[in-house]
Every structure is written in C-alpha cells, then in structure tokens.
C-alpha cells in the first residue's frame, strides 16, 4: 500500500533509500534492549549474550549496520540494479529486526523491552524496522528495470580464481550457518534468534547480490567451467570438517542433511522433472534402510548375513527401484492427482507392513537395532580420525560418505536432466498428450522416473540406517514424505541447489529451534501453504520450472499472460476451423 504512494515517483527513491540506510546504521548503534546485560544469572535478565561483543556492535547489529551501508552504497550504484538490490537488502534488515525484536519481547517480558522501561530507552529494533521498511519502499520506487546480466568474460585463470573465491565464501557461509547460535535447547534459548537473524542476513545479502547480477554472473562462470567448479565444490565439502563446524554434533547434522538432500534430489526427479507428485516417497528410503539392516550383520536381523557395504548399497537400490517401478506402474493408466493418492496409499501400506514386522524383515515395534558401524578400510565409521595432524570429530567418515553420495546423485541428476530421458520427463510434465504425440513412450518414461527416484532413496536409506544404527518403521512416516516434499518445494522444484538448500533448512532448523519442536510440523504445514501462495517457485527456482509454478515465464513474463496467450492461440485455431465453413457458406 505504501509502495503505491511512491510508485512512479522515482525522484523520491534515492533520498528515501539513503535515509533508510542511515537509519539502519543508527538503529544498529542504538541499544536494542532496555535492561542491562549480565547482571544476574540465567534465567533472569542475563542471557542476552548475543548483544555482548566487541565494539558494542555484535552479531546481528553488525549485520544490520552492514546492510545499511550497502543500502546507501546501492543508491549511488548504476540505476539498473538499484531497485531489486535495495529491496532485497531492506527485506533482510526487516527480517533481522523483527526476529530479534520478537525474541526480546518474548524473553524480556513485553514491548517495554524494545521501547522504554525502567528508565532506559532501547529503540534499536523499532528504528531498524522502520528504516528497513523505508529501504523496501525505496526499492520499489526505483524505476523498474529488467534483471541485470553481466556480459563479462575473463581469462581462464581469473575465472577459476573467481570460482575458488566464490566457493570458499560459500563454505564459510555454510560453516557459519551451521554453527550460528549453537545448538538450540533449554540451555541456549537464543540459538533460534541468532540462527534466524543470521539466515535473514544471508537472505538479504544473497538477494542483494542477485539484484546486482553478480550471482547470475558467477553461476554463468561456473557453467562455463563445470568440471572445475564441481571439483572445487567437492573440495569445499571435504574441507568443512576442518572448519569451526567440524564438531561431532554439526558433522552429524551435516551428514543427515547430506542423506536427506540426496533423497530430496531423488524425489526431485519424480516431482520436479517428471511432474509426478509422490506422497509416499519415504517408503523407498525405508525399503533401502530395511534391506541394508538385514544384510549388514545386525544381531537381531532375521537374515543374519553380513555383505560388503557396496554390495548392500547396490541391493538396496535395486530392491527400492523395483518397488518404485511397481508403484509407478499405475502411472501407465492413472494421471495427476489420482497418482498422488496411489503413492500415498503405497506409503501407508509400507508403513503398516513395517509396523507389523512383515515377513520378519522389519522387526516391527522392536525395530532392528545394533547395526554395526561401517568399516572404512579398517576404521569404524563412528571413530574420530586424524588427518594432516588435525583431529577430526567422530562420524566424519559418514559425513564424507554422505558428501560422495550427494555428489554422485547430483551428477546423475544433472546428466539425466540434460539427456534424452530428462527431456522426455520434462515433456511429460508439460503436456503428456503432446509428449506422446511426439513419440515419447510416456508410460515407460514415467515408470523410469519412479524407478530412478526410488533407487536413489534406497541408497540414501541404506546410508542413513548405518548412521542411525537402528532401522525402525517410525522413521518412515507420511510426515517424513511431506518433509521431503517440502524440502523440494521450498528449494525450488527441479533445481539441484534448491533441493540441497531446502533439505538443509528443514533439517537444520529443528536443531536450532528446539524450543519450538512441538510446533515444528505445524509450522511446516503453514510454510507449505505460504510458499504456494507467495513463492511457489521456491527459493532457488529452476529456470524452466519457474515458468510453471511462479506466474513467471522463463523470460520473466507473467504466467497469466502466457496462459492467456495459449488461450488466444486456441481461439485462433478454433476460428480457423470455423472460418473455413463460414467462407464456404458465404460462397454458396
């Protein structure tokens, strides 16, 4: 509404954004809470440690300040990038202000905490929030410009250097994100606030960089040197355990993320590429898990065999893949929404069967405990190891395994996507009848999507079960399927980085927001609704897929228009058909 007031008055934009930027800096420097810090032990008024840091401008306040500086700087940047960048920075700052203000209000006991109480004044949050809104408004007041693309090509070594720097920055961001705020829980009630405001800062920064076109340029560079960037990315992943995130706890979390990211990419083949909604996907992960549990020498498994892990992975993939093909086979006849129900039904059948210890293979309510740790060339997977003199935390080998699996799945996904099969999937997703008319064997191709997706989930399940050491049906509920689906949707359907980011967020947030664990699923549900409403294309949309869900075509036009265009073409076709009869009758 406010944006309407200034829309079309570009003259206001720059002064407004400068004022907003200055106010952000002022807001960051103002006190944010009315009470003094560290005057008595927890849980009284002493625990707001994240206010306490060098120069009196710690963590999130530094972030607000940086965003403010950036807003001012952008006001003098080339006109084309001003609007989007300022808006993104503003949203980031607003999110930080709101998150911290909300925590202060709740933990500090009321609105007095962020205004005035006990004779103290603390308007930092309020000023920052207002300033952030000003930046957002200013951002929308700048004249609309098409997204900026840089047409810059550097010498090969320079471009490699750019990529190395970019991925190093990414590694730093990942490590910082993992550790930001520490692990949530009663002992650390501000983990959530610190983490969320850090994420908000990242969103502001990345949104801003995206507005400048830098991100697009870097990804174009990465596209030019695909092999090189894959190697650097992999190297970064291997370096993570050496950073501050290399504790056992965060490595454990990172391993989980890796396993679920791999699964999410698998689901992305089914949902994102082939456009088949699968609501029972976690069942395939479960199948892989139980296969692995039975073949890996767990004392309580009824089979009691102990095969080499690689063989176990292959068998898990095959068994899950076969089930995938079976579940997918109704797709030969069944379309769209109905298919969702079939997959949901399959997921429930799997859950029931596992719960009832079908064929003695799942342990039922006893689960299959005591799966021995994996053996990595003589080192058990859960042991701490020393590399180059650095002591790495226990479980790091599992982490590395997860990284390898994610990398392999990514390569598989990327290759499939640009292959004949991938194009056939996309064709089926866009218009099944047209695809069939073009000679795509739609039935086979859809079953294949299920098969590949399921096999990937089977592998992920097999890895997961070794990390957990217990295979229980309780790990594979409908809600897990929903969570995986949320990861894919949140990240952006059909997009690999999207699936990884989505899985990361959905599996890191619960670690950080333990005090909200009761509300976790409720917020999931709400998030799904809100994403579909406001950003159906996800955080990192796939270029093509954006067209379908976002109301935005690949070229950036509105979907509604594209739809109407289709209608127009239809009408013209109709007219043509009718036209002929009309003319003949006219002649008669």
């Amino acid at each position: 509404m406010i944006t309407k007031l200034v829309a079309g008055k570009p003259g206001l934009a720059r002064p407004l954004s400068i004022v907003g930027g200055v106010l952000l800096i002022v807001g960051a420097l103002l006190p944010w809470a009315t009470f003094q810090l560290n005057i008595m032990p927890y849980p009284a008024l002493s625990t707001l440690q994240f206010f306490d840091a060098p120069f009196g401008v710690p963590g999130f306040r530094l972030h607000v300040m940086l965003l403010g500086v950036a807003v001012i700087a952008v006001a003098f940047a080339p006109a084309a990038i001003r609007g989007r960048t300022t808006k993104a920075l503003g949203w980031g700052a607003l999110a930080i202000a709101v998150v911290n203000a909300a925590y202060l209000i709740v933990e500090g006991g009321g609105f007095g905490t962020i205004t005035s109480a006990h004779g103290a004044f603390a308007f930092g949050a309020v000023v920052s929030a207002v300033a952030a809104v000003m930046a957002i408004v200013a951002g929308s007041a700048y004249p609309a410009a098409p997204p900026v693309t840089w047409d810059l090509k550097l010498a090969k070594p320079l471009e490699w250097l750019v990529l190395v720097l970019a991925y190093a920055a990414l590694l730093k961001v990942v490590a910082d994100t993992l550790t930001a705020g520490g692990r949530g829980g009663a002992a650390n009630p501000y983990a959530g606030a610190v983490f969320l405001s850090f994420v908000a800062f990242l969103f502001g920064v990345f949104g801003g960089l995206n507005g400048t076109g830098l991100l697009r340029w870097v990804s174009a560079v990465a596209e030019r040197h695909r092999a090189f960037s894959a190697v650097v990315l992999l190297a970064c992943a291997f370096v993570l355990p050496f950073t501050e995130a290399g504790t056992e706890q965060w490595i454990y979390t990172a391993t989980n993320i890796g396993v679920f990211a791999a699964t999410a990419i698998g689901l992305n083949i089914v949902v994102g590429l082939a456009g088949l909604l699968d609501l029972g996907y976690v069942a395939f992960m479960g199948i892989g898990a139980f296969v692995a549990a039975n073949l890996s020498g767990a004392a309580s498994a009824s089979l009691g065999v102990d095969l080499p892990f690689v063989l176990v992975l292959v068998i898990a993939a095959i068994v899950a893949g076969v089930f995938g093909a079976i579940v997918g086979s109704p797709t030969l006849r069944v379309r769209g929404d109905y298919l969702a129900i079939v997959t949901l039904a399959f997921g429930e059948i799997f859950f029931k069967a596992a719960q009832n210890n079908i064929a003695g293979a799942t342990g039922g309510s006893n689960a299959i405990p005591g799966i021995p740790p994996l053996d990595f060339l003589g080192t058990p997977g859960d042991a701490a190891i020393t590399v180059f003199g650095a002591e790495l935390a226990g479980g790091v080998l599992y982490y590395l395994l997860a990284v390898v699996i994610v990398a392999l799945v990514m390569v598989l996904f990327a290759n499939l996507k640009s292959s004949r099969i991938g194009r056939a999937w996309i064709a089926v997703r866009e218009d099944e009848d047209a695809a069939r008319a073009m000679g795509v064997k739609t039935g086979k191709i859809k079953v294949l999507a299920f098969l590949v997706g399921a096999a990937i989930a089977g592998v992920a399940g097999a890895v997961l079960v070794h990390r957990l050491t217990t295979a229980s049906y309780e790990s594979f509920t409908f809600l897990e399927s929903v969570t995986l689906l949320s990861a894919v949707i949140l990240g952006g359907m059909g997009s690999i980085p999207g699936a990884v980011v989505g899985a990361s967020l959905l599996f890191v947030l619960p670690e950080k927001l333990r005090e909200f664990s009761d509300y976790r699923l409720m917020l999931f549900g709400l998030a799904l609704v809100l994403i579909m409403r406001f950003r159906p294309q996800g955080l990192i949309p796939d270029k093509v897929r954006r067209a379908e869900l976002a109301g935005e075509t690949a070229e950036g036009g509105s979907l509604k228009e594209a739809e109407e265009r289709a209608v127009a073409e239809q009408e013209r076709a109709d007219d043509e058909r009718l036209g002929r009869t009309g003319v003949t009758e006219g002649r008669s």
Binding site: G557, E564, A568, E571, D575, L578, G582, E585, G586
Partner: protein, 237 residues
C-alpha cells in the same frame, strides 16, 4: 437513437499478443449490429471481454452509459448483457428446462415460468422434450436452446457468437429468422458471424474486423455491396 453499448478503444491482449487492438464500435438501442471478419480477427475475444470473461488491457466498455469494463461476468449479466457463447456451451448433462432456468439465474421476479413457456412456444421441439438432457439434441436444436437460454435473463443486449456454426443452411436460416423476430420484439443484438452474407443481410449496421481492429463500417446493405467486403468475405472478385 441512443447507444446501448459503446466500445471505445478496446485492447485485449494475451501476453505480448494483442488479439484486439484499439477496437471501437457502437450498438444503438433496438438495432442488430454485426461484426464480421476472418478467423483470428478478435471477434470472439471482443465478446468475451464485453461479457467479463476476459479483462481489457486498455479502453472502455460503456453499457447504457455506465462503464462495465473490469466488472465480473455475473455483474455484467445482471446489468442486462447476455452472451450466447461460441459453440453453444450448453450444460449437456442437464435437462432443457434446467438449462433455461439457469439462464434466468439472476432473476428473482415470478415471470420466469412464463418466459420458459415463451421459449417453448418459440421452439416447440424444446417444449416437447423439456426433460431430456441438452446433450442429446441436434446442433440446430441446441442452438435454439442456447438462444432461448440467453433470452431467459431478459437481456437488453443479446450477444451471439457464431450462431450458424456447424448448422445446415435451412437451420441457419431459421436461426436468423428468429433473430429478426427477437429484434422486432425490441431486443438489441450484437452478432458475430463468419457467415457474412446472412449476417450483413440481417443487420442494421456492420463492422468489418481485421487483425483486432475495425477496418470498415456501415449499414449492412452498404457493406454487402462494398467491393472490398465482397472480395474479402464473399469470395468474389
């Protein structure tokens, strides 16, 4: 005479493609006005925009002096504009009577039964089979029902899109006779037709629409005599 419908500079676009570009025409009260033109000229799009199924990008639509552009379809019907769509679009799984009653959906007066009977009087075949499903009727009978249904809202302006589509010449003639009767009873009609000969012979005023705009206009008989029209639409020259 006063203008019942006035379309001013109407532009309708599907994305980047403008199906209707700056089209303007006037329908006077009591007249039959027809839009003729080649396929894809934008005639159907124009009607769908007037009746509120599509949104104009620019321009205005005045009905009885009031702007109805951007109003929802049901409000436009309520104002007195009925649209008998291309391809008839009957509710095939409902009976003749139900289709007619749906045509009178917005009416709350008690004249509905009388009007249903009037349609049956006009098209006896509908009355005889009033409890049959609409989908079972022949093309011509369906067109009668479609016209009857559109008349049920007692519109001040009746818009018909290709009423002769797919009909035999005899049936086409019958439909056009009906339109003449409706005009005689005081209904204003906006007609879109590919059958330019029949349409121009019937109408008071015609507009030739080409590539989304009107290129020629004039009384029906004049257009019928115009060599350009004859060359383009009547297959002469």
């Amino acid at each position: 005479m006063s203008a019942l419908l006035e379309v001013r500079g109407l532009t309708v676009a599907y994305g980047a493609i403008e199906a209707v570009r700056d089209i303007s025409f006037v329908v006077e009260t009591g007249q039959i006005v027809c839009l003729i033109g080649a396929n894809g000229a934008g005639k159907t799009t124009t009607l769908r925009t007037i009746s509120g199924l599509l949104r104009p990008r620019a321009g205005d639509i005045l009905f009885d002096g009031q702007s109805i552009a951007n109003q929802p379809a049901h409000a436009i019907l309520g104002a007195g504009v009925a649209h008998c769509p291309e391809g008839r679009r009957l509710f095939a799984r409902m009976t003749v009577e139900e289709n007619l009653l749906l045509g009178a959906y917005t009416r709350t007066d008690d004249g509905v039964t009388t009007d249903v009977q009037r349609v049956y009087d006009l098209f006896p075949v509908l009355g005889e089979r009033r409890h049959n499903k609409a989908g079972l009727f022949s093309g011509g009978e369906q067109q009668m029902l479609a016209i009857g249904r559109a008349m049920m809202s007692r519109p001040r302006l009746l818009m018909l899109d290709e009423p002769s589509m797919g009909l035999s010449p005899i049936m086409t003639q019958k439909i056009f006779d009906t339109l003449a009767d409706l005009k005689a009873q005081g209904t204003t009609i906006l007609l879109v037709e590919q059958n330019a000969l029949a349409a121009l012979a019937l109408c008071d005023r015609g507009y030739v629409v080409d590539l989304g705009r009107t290129t020629l206009e004039g009384p029906g008989h004049e257009l019928l005599a115009d060599h350009r029209v004859r060359a383009a639409y009547l297959g002469e020259g």
